[in-house]
């Protein structure tokens, strides 16, 4: 069936205008799908044009402590949840300074925060604002590195100047300016290089050669190179504590169905692998449009299919001593939760146990931010504390939780 304007304008069309609009539409209007819709709607099939599904809006302000029902968060026996910090608008990725400052990023709020632990009280300072989706923060040798859409900057000596932050110095600023999937996760690899994602600038498309990858650059801005290809958008990765190999989460495309394709947890033991986007999803579903003439066998398959639309963000291997011994080297996966699915899924922290010669074990660690159909929080990244407890950032509530364990 031809897509006509009235499908999109049910409440606007005056009957008297119908003939005019249809006339114009049929003569000169290509199907609406031929124009560029907003990125989140791109790839939506014509028969779903009136779907009420849309991304969950980010609240403009953090929740007050009394509005954060931490008792709803379920964790395994022996674990305990507390509200560690609040009032951090759009709190996202976390990284530790050498002197114990927790640096916290945000996305659309445009801020970078420093959280100072003052023995039971946390003080939150804004150290940068008005930035272009500064989702990535990494710390090395006294210097904080921040990744925005198209640049990486640094703030040397920041921990001694939290109340008077130094100017941000450019490390690397010739990255693509595309905003869709342009926000970055940023981390230092075991090789001392800065790793970050350059996401596909779309829901589904043949991306430019410069996009849909994980890239790396030296801390002085030299030596840029692509590390992994065919990665739609990975905003969370970490290196295995023993093998030092890269593992990463990827958000899969939308509008292909309730239960497909699955998001992925991937393993990139070396540079140069291709993970399938946009030709093949979840390792075994050729894209209906872009998969023609290609085979899923050409590409690296996911280590784990983490679930449809779960929105896997943070990836972190546990190396602490507080949790039971079996938690050593397990990966925590923070899943911010679905929008492109009628029945919501995600809104939880999963854990992955890698097993040599066997498929990984994949279990729930913390859940409860989805209460029935009501979303009150979205766990987005984790960060281990020195004492082995685990912080979880929630960008929807603007809060950070701490998980502790006592036998």
């Amino acid at each position: 069936m031809r897509l006509i304007p009235s499908r999109l304008w049910p409440s606007l069309l005056a009957v008297s205008l119908l003939a005019v609009v249809l006339g114009v539409g049929l003569v000169t209007t290509p199907p609406a799908s031929g124009q560029a819709p907003p990125p989140w709607k791109q790839g939506q099939p014509a028969d779903m044009a009136n779907s009420p599904l849309a991304p969950i809006a980010q609240p403009p302000s953090p929740k007050a402590p009394g509005e954060i029902p931490i008792a709803k968060i379920k964790v395994p026996p022996g674990f305990k949840v507390e509200l560690w910090a609040h009032g951090i608008n759009n709190a996202r990725a976390m990284t530790w300074g050498d002197k114990g400052t927790l640096f916290v990023s945000s996305r659309v709020a445009g801020n970078v925060y420093a959280v100072v632990d003052k023995g039971g009280q946390r003080e939150v300072k804004m150290i940068a604002k008005g930035l272009n989706q500064p989702n990535g923060v990494a710390f090395k040798d006294g210097t904080l590195y921040v990744a925005e859409i198209s640049r990486i900057t640094k703030m040397p000596g920041i921990e001694d100047k939290l109340d008077n932050p130094p100017a941000m110095e450019v490390v690397y600023d010739i990255l693509p300016r595309d905003l869709p999937h342009g926000w970055k996760y940023l981390a230092f690899g075991p090789d001392g290089k800065l790793y970050f994602n350059i996401g596909a600038p779309c829901n589904i498309c043949i991306p430019p050669d410069t996009h849909a990858n994980i890239s790396r650059v030296n801390a002085d801005g030299s030596g840029f190179e692509y590390f992994a290809h065919g990665v739609r958008n990975s905003v969370g990765f970490d290196w295995h504590p023993v093998t030092k190999e890269l593992y990463f989460a990827t958000h899969a495309r939308d509008w292909l169905g309730e239960d497909v394709p699955s998001d992925r947890f991937d393993h990139a033991p070396r540079k140069g692998l291709h993970f399938g986007f946009p030709y093949c999803h979840q390792g075994d579903i050729p894209d209906p449009e872009f998969g023609k003439g290609r085979s899923c066998a050409e590409f690296a398959a996911p280590l784990i299919k983490t679930g449809p639309h779960v929105a896997g963000n943070g990836v972190e291997f546990y190396t602490g001593s507080m949790f039971p011994p079996e938690y050593q080297n397990r990966a925590f996966l923070a899943q911010r939760g679905s929008w492109n699915r009628t029945k919501k899924i995600g809104f939880r922290v999963m854990m992955v146990t890698l097993r040599p010669g066997d498929v990984p074990k994949y279990d729930v660690f913390a859940e409860g931010w989805l209460d029935g159909d009501n979303v009150w929080g979205r766990p987005v990244y984790t960060k281990q504390m020195k004492d082995g407890s685990l912080l979880i950032a929630d960008d929807y509530a603007g809060a950070i939780y701490r998980i502790t364990y006592k036998p």
Binding site: L8, S11, L17, G25, T29, A36, P60, G110, K129, L179
Partner: protein, 185 residues
Amino acid sequence: MTAVAAGSGAAADLEAGKRKAEVCAACHGRDGNATIPGTPSLAGQPVYFTHWQLIKFKDGRRKDPQMTPFVQSLSDADMADLSAYYQTQTPRRRPFATDPAKVVEGQRLANVHHCTSCHRPGLTGQEQAARLAGQDFDYLLRLLRGFKAKTASDLDGTMTTATQPLTDAEIVSLVHFIATLGAQP
């Protein structure tokens, strides 16, 4: 005191919002319906939209010679209260001389360019997406041209992306259409 959750986390205070809005009234109208050409109406704007714009004015991502200095003294609670107040006010269409041919063309363009995907049928706005229906002609024109020129502040890039294929004549037609929507003045 009337408190509403307002969808923005910390409960906003409507009475406080009304009181705090008194200083905004000179330009935006007592009830958020502005009359000065080029100045947007705030009545009926979704609370997330107004709040995010205030945040962006304050942190410098959105710049305006009048708004930028004005917002510097606003606290987080001020922004929440003001946004909640304006959402509850009834929007009226701004006076505007319609060009029927441009309205028809603008409706076609609004359709082809998926404006309702975020701004809702009737372009009444939702969450962080502005209410457009009946908004001031000059303001809409300035903003759309700014997005096209990549100089207007965009929360997540959607508007910058959406306006790139538009010609200036198409932007004018779109604005003719949008400005005619909504209740009569």
